[in-house]
Subunit: 367 residues, 2 copies
């Protein structure tokens, strides 16, 4: 090969690599990132398939995602070719995987795929720990060559960094939601009859939102709002909050004030763009479509969409849970009762998605 | 220039760019990222200086950080050369900044730096919005050429993506801490005499930790633990929590049980690696160095460092705040009282850092 031709190829590969690096580093969502890396690596290294394994040292496994949002596929940490890469940090390049005793033939058997050539290399985090393995199958050129190994090593620099950041972000998000969930649940727990209420309202609301096809970020914002929607109850006296009998009018007024207290508490929090509607959603879950709700008598689309969704989940859970003065209503009866309030309490355009969610969660899911 | 030589330069620049891209994408901390980008861009584009401006559309400003951790320097959104880049998205390349009427000479006047050539280009997020401006001053080759503009454009791809991710991470962290702070404060607020306690314990503890030179991540973990350290009080009856008189022995036992309740609540949260010590720290803030504390009678270094730090901040705030049965003690008297308990209640190696923090916060700071 001439000198010029070599530089031409090198510069072409570097341009590709730069593009791939930029693309990979633009995604923070872990699932989507793993998929994007696999797609980009497949095309850059001219392979038929690519699997990204993530190292989980706590659980002592390597895991991979077959598709965005689907369940993880796990293997013990030191098994197979990917396990050997994770252990040693060396690149493994074999012409025929079946000749390598470390190769696990189970996956081929299960998927019907026939692996021939295989190239696998480690991905490092900033601390120099191996955090993942990038494994390419079946080079379109017969087998993987030395240049492919170099390209994989260069790619792994971007991939490792992007992966570590996505993991940090996901971990922080998961810690945030978990802490919020537990703190919110402690307020429910002050009264035995509301234990689990916040969790269920969150589950139902996010279920409806997903049924409506709302973006992931909106669903997460709704989840945060749901966790916080009854937090104002912390400002209600024990004597009212845990009273076993029906409340007097005066006590009921104090009880209703929890929404205003929720709004007061939320207004002191600094929510960033992604969560900016949390106070508005959480504070409006007792508003009604016809304007007869509280605390502000908002109506129709002046009520944030998230609050119109949550209103359904909130009432549905209240009806289907035990109270001191009545036992829980069967799910189907509660659905009937809610239906009667569509157009008055509930948004007629949101309600069909609750019906669809109900069907999936309580009818089909229960079979 | 021969074809080969051109490819050689191109390939050299691309190699540099790849390295810079990898380095930039390995940092998630916004301050450190901005500094790293400036350093890398200065060297890659052979300039004397580089400023990274971040676009804040809510506040209608461009801001930049002169050094890690220092205050931000802000300019109105559409002013100066950086403002013009942020408005139009075009690269601006001028041989002599002083010939351009948009150039703001104030900064040179203030810093004593003399700007000659200037190259500024936009940085985009995934949505195609301009989120920042990269501005280089004084090319070491006299002026910036067309190749520099192309290199800046290529670099901006990485930089914009890295910047957006760092912002998302920072926003989530700030939302998390803010929500936690407010929720924790609501528990304090149940009793007028403990209002603000959690905030102050968090401030004092983080102050001591910073004085000790603990890493940022450890300080943040301590802050989360401080916000949660008294949360178990949510499980104490109003009658005990808000009793205006001295507590009976029985009531005092119930009050002390808040640490166990804190531990119970925290044990239900899923903390990731970065926050894994939060339950241990928050649950041990009433342990004593000599082993005579509660709930587990831990002693010495068996008590997590964060808890040994927080124990000092917690008692110091209790002494210097009003209580029903006594008024707040002057800061200096409280310090004396704490000193008497070094080696019994408090870790003798941590205490000097509290003394240093006290000096800075209450003596020097008060002047």
């Amino acid at each position: 090969m001439t000198h010029t031709a070599e530089f031409k190829i090198l510069s072409h590969q570097m341009t590709l690599l730069l593009e791939v690096g930029q693309a990979i580093n633009s995604v923070l969502d872990l699932d989507k990132l793993l998929e994007l890396i696999a797609v980009k690596a497949t095309s850059l290294l001219e392979a038929e398939r690519c699997t990204i394994f993530v190292v989980d040292r706590d659980e002592q496994v390597l895991w991979t995602q077959t598709a965005v949002g689907e369940a993880r596929f796990e293997i013990p940490l030191s098994t197979g070719i990917a396990g050997a890469v994770a252990d040693t940090g060396s690149i493994i390049n074999v012409k025929n995987a079946y000749d390598d005793p470390r190769f696990n033939q189970d996956v081929d058997r299960r998927t019907g795929f026939l692996t021939s050539s295989l190239l696998a290399g480690p991905m490092y985090n900033q601390g120099g720990e191996i955090i993942g393995v990038c494994q390419l199958l079946n080079s379109r050129n017969g087998c993987f060559v030395h240049t492919d190994e170099k390209l994989l090593a260069a790619l792994s620099g971007f991939v490792g960094n992007a992966l570590e950041k996505a993991q940090l972000y996901e971990q922080l998000k998961s810690t945030f939601l978990s802490v919020l969930e537990v703190l919110a649940a402690t307020v429910d727990a002050k009264h035995p009859y509301t234990a689990g209420h916040t969790d269920r309202v969150s589950e139902y609301s996010c279920g409806i939102a997903r049924m409506m096809g709302l973006p992931d970020d909106d669903v997460e914002q709704l989840k945060v709002a749901a966790y916080l929607h009854d937090y104002g109850k912390i400002g209600i006296r024990d004597a009212v909050l845990t009273k076993p009998d029906r409340l007097t009018n005066e006590e009921y007024t104090e009880m209703k004030s929890h929404v205003v207290k929720t709004q007061e508490i939320l207004s002191r929090m600094r929510f960033s763009k992604q969560h900016r509607l949390v106070p508005a959603i959480a504070g409006a879950h007792h508003e009604r479509w016809d304007g007869k709700g509280y605390p502000n008598g908002l109506s129709g689309e002046d009520i944030p969409l998230g609050a119109r969704i949550m209103a359904i989940g909130d009432v549905f859970d209240a009806l289907t849970s035990d109270r001191d003065y009545r036992t829980a209503m069967p799910y189907a009866d509660a659905l009937e009762l809610l239906r009667a309030d569509v157009g008055s309490s509930f948004d007629p355009r949101v309600f069909p998605y609750f019906e669809a969610y109900y069907q999936k969660r309580f009818v089909d899911g229960g079979k």
